[in-house]
């Protein structure tokens, strides 16, 4: 990973073709940045612009710079040079392959050693209830299994300096663990979310409305306090869910 890393978003236009209010945003190494806004407002579109390192050639007209410069053509397309890993909402596998075959092929496409496959499966199984085996066909994985497999795949195989996450909370996996795993060391993490815990874990959040970046909010000290309180509530909810899943009776009020 390069020592310096900045990601710059240069604003384009909203859904009506009007220039968006936020014209420039720079994100540095180690930062988690949130994207918030109503459903259908254009959050995923912003993620897609970053994933393809848009150069004014997408419908939004945005440009993405890496270390202040326009990325070259190979950085945009060759998975071995790709700077961006994306965990998208699209989690249903269409590939008729086993988990192990798929991961080996993906490791090859990213120029990584095939030995990483076991590590991906092991890590995925720490995030989900039902264990995944290397011989399982991708098409029969549950939603939670698929998500945890893709999360582990990004952490181990894709291992790009910029990680984009689209709504991790909808997946029935341990979201905070997943986020920490993906954030790794010194990465830029961009996370689309409706979840207050994840949104407030970010140091800043971009507000999207009608396809435009309308505001950037820096998470305040007060919001950080709120975040740690709701994290406790969230963990409690999670433990209740596990209790119920195990077929046990919920007895005490925490």
């Amino acid at each position: 990973m390069s020592e310096e890393l900045t990601l710059t978003i240069i604003g384009g236009v909203d859904k009506d073709g009007v220039p968006e209010p936020v014209k420039f945003l720079e994100v540095s190494k180690g930062e988690i940045i949130g994207i918030v806004g109503p459903t259908g407002s254009g959050k995923s579109t912003l993620i897609d612009d970053i994933e393809q390192l848009a150069q004014g050639d997408t419908p939004t007209g945005r440009s993405i710079l890496i270390n202040g410069k326009k990325p070259d053509a190979l950085t945009r397309v060759d998975p071995r040079k790709k700077l961006v890993a994306q965990l998208s909402q699209k989690m249903h596998f269409l590939a008729d392959m086993t988990v192990a075959d798929f991961l080996q092929m993906h490791a090859r496409s990213r120029g990584k050693a095939p030995g990483l496959v076991d590590r991906v499966i092991e890590l995925a199984n720490t995030l989900t209830g039902e264990p995944i085996s290397p011989d399982t066909y991708l098409t029969v994985l549950s939603g939670g299994q698929s998500r945890s497999l893709m999360t582990a795949d990004i952490a181990v195989i894709s291992d790009s300096p910029v990680v984009l996450i689209d709504e991790i909370e909808n997946a029935g996996i341990k979201k905070q663990e997943a986020l920490q795993l993906l954030a790794g060391e010194g990465k830029i993490v961009v996370v689309v979310t409706h979840d207050p815990v994840l949104a407030l874990m970010a140091s800043r959040r971009i507000v999207i409305r009608n396809g435009a970046m309308v505001d950037i909010i820096t998470t305040s000290r007060e919001e950080q306090d709120v975040c740690s309180r709701i994290t406790q509530v969230d963990n409690w909810l999670m433990s209740l869910r596990e209790t119920i899943r195990r077929g046990e009776i919920v007895e005490e009020l925490a």
């Binding site: 050639d57 994306q86 965990l87 590939a95 392959m97 798929f102 092929m105 496409s109 990004i154």
Partner: protein
């Protein structure tokens, strides 16, 4: 004059890719014209017609659509020239995956749908393996990992191709594709096919409709792979 031959399985998004690319070509001052070859029916000429460029439809009917395309290539180029075009874009029907209707001096583009799964590149044959550019469509419907695995499989069978990830809804990829087309080769006389068409000298070609081995003559391949000649 430049010739672009665009092939791909039905429903892969050939027409959508082409519509976006034509808009970009026109914007950059090119004069494209489209020949759409189909088997029985098409209304794609209306979609192309809205772009205000010359459009011609060829229906292969009871002929093989790829063979039809191959022996009509010179007629397509003449038609393009008489309509003052500088690029003829030929969208083929391409069905049986055994032929590849690409002449040597053209820009050969294969459009392939990512949602058909990463084994598809192994099945498509010369349509994919002899293309200059491979356009991967519908990538927004799968994960990034699956797109990358698909891409790796394409490179396994065609290591020297350029791959463009395209989206027929947003027009992603059209800009790059238009640029590559503009840099493509000029056509010349005496073009030859990149890949030989299949052996087609059995009695089915002459109208035999009865099913079963005993009714057929010519060069036949049996289920176990054995090839024989039956006849006089």
């Amino acid at each position: 004059m430049k010739l672009v031959v665009l092939a791909g399985t039905p429903g892969s998004g050939k027409t959508s890719v082409l519509l976006h690319t034509i808009r970009t070509l026109v914007k950059s001052g090119k004069r494209p014209a489209v020949v759409k070859v189909d088997c029985l029916w098409t209304d794609d000429d209306q979609r192309f017609g809205k772009l205000g460029i010359p459009v011609h439809v060829g229906l292969a009917k009871d002929m093989c659509p790829d063979h039809f395309t191959i022996y009509n290539t010179d007629a397509m180029l003449d038609w393009g020239a008489s309509n003052n075009a500088d690029i003829v874009l030929n969208e083929t029907a391409g069905l049986c995956l055994r032929c590849a209707p690409y002449p040597d001096e053209c820009m050969a583009i294969c459009v392939i749908d990512v949602t058909t799964g990463p084994n598809t590149p192994l099945k498509v044959g010369p349509l994919l393996t002899t293309a200059d550019i491979v356009v991967m469509t519908k990538g927004d419907l799968v994960s990034q990992a699956e797109r990358e695995v698909f891409r790796e499989r394409v490179l396994d069978v065609n290591p020297s191709c350029m791959i463009i990830e395209s989206n027929g809804l947003t027009g992603k990829g059209a800009f790059e594709l238009a640029e590559l087309i503009s840099e493509g080769p000029e056509v010349r006389d005496n073009m030859v096919l990149r890949y030989n068409p299949p052996l087609a000298i059995c009695s089915l070609c002459t109208g035999e409709t009865r099913v079963a081995h005993k009714h057929h003559m010519g060069v036949l391949r049996q289920l176990d792979g054995f090839m024989e000649y039956r006849g006089e």
